[in-house]
Amino acid sequence: MSDSSIWLVIVLGGLGTYAIRAVFLVFAERVASVPPKLQVAFRMIPAAALAALVFPPLLRPEGALTVASAELGAGLLALVVAWRTRSIPITLAVGITAVLILDRLT
């Protein structure tokens, strides 16, 4: 990716993110509250967005759909560790070690 494309991503992503952060603070006097249906939608964002980022690298590590990959095995193990510990360092240590070992075996 070219340097100018990367900066375009950073600037547009930053402007959009700032608008998201600022809109309700700017119009604080005029906007009373967020409609309840929209609040429900906002609550779904982390689960939906993070899963959309997590599933493809685990189920299609090389592009093709597979359930017999080192990535999926390591990912499932990491899921258990993440669930029990909620810790990024521990999950990373277990997950990356597991993918290295499973990669050797397969």
């Binding site: 990367i6 547009l12 809109v23 906002f42 689960a47 990912g75 993440a82």
Partner: protein, 235 residues
């Protein structure tokens, strides 16, 4: 509480949170280094976008040479949740000058939002004191993030190529995903988002990721609204 004390109180309250975000910030610096991006790109993302999960997703997609609109779309979908934080904190800061509110918006994060609103609900304060408490929590988070991202870049640049450090990206998202899945609606939002992204993975430019995320949001919202409706009917 005087504004000065409120600022200090916020800084004390945020301290354990600062330690907690260190590993995440190190990754947001190390992964771009590992993918061959410059320190200026890592710092640009950290200062201009300043949102951990979105930074990591953007870095991942830049590494895969996704289309600019797809990367920006993914950043914005992930960050949409902050609309909620702005809306929720705005009534507490409504009497502050616009310039202060515009400044406060730039450093709005999950953690600063959560600490501040919890404090505002438990303790009566005037607007100035509330803003001071918010800044006490939000400013150290910003400074900490920048420092840790720069440190992470140097760590990442030193990590040997043979270590599959890119795999740290989905693993980190996994750690963030687990606590966000709390009930039937969020489980279905995650499954719909994840499965759609996998099915649409062959689409060019990684368009499957933002489309998958939006699909998951729609499915989870529909499930939740349906459940609420049937509860109302039952009652």
């Amino acid at each position: 509480m005087a504004p000065r004390d409120a600022f200090r109180r916020g800084a004390i309250d945020v301290f354990p949170v600062l330690l907690g975000v260190i590993p995440f910030g190190l990754l947001a610096g190390a992964i771009p280094a590992e993918l061959g991006l410059g320190l200026e790109h890592a710092v640009g993302l950290a200062t201009i976008v300043f949102a951990g999960a979105a930074q990591l997703a953007a870095i991942d997609l830049i590494g895969e040479s996704a289309h600019v609109t797809v990367i920006v779309g993914t950043i914005l979908v992930i960050n949409l949740r902050m609309l909620m934080y702005g809306a929720s904190i705005a009534p507490y800061l409504v009497d502050r000058p616009l310039s202060r509110r515009l400044g406060a918006a730039y450093i709005l994060t999950d953690q600063a939002y959560a600490l501040s609103v919890a404090r505002y609900r438990g303790e009566p304060m005037d607007g100035r004191t509330r803003l001071a408490y918010y800044l006490g929590a939000a400013v150290p988070l910003w400074v900490n993030w920048q420092v840790v991202v720069v440190l992470g870049w140097f760590v990442g640049a030193a990590v040997p190529e043979s270590l599959p450090i890119e795999f740290a990206i989905p693993l980190t998202f996994l750690v963030l995903l687990v606590p966000s899945v709390t009930d039937r609606a969020t489980v279905l939002a995650a499954l719909a988002g994840g499965v759609t992204a996998v099915v649409l993975d062959p689409l060019p430019a990684n368009a499957g990721i933002p489309i998958g995320a939006l699909t998951g949001i729609v499915v989870g919202t529909a499930v939740e609204l349906q459940a609420r409706e049937s509860r109302t009917v039952d009652a």
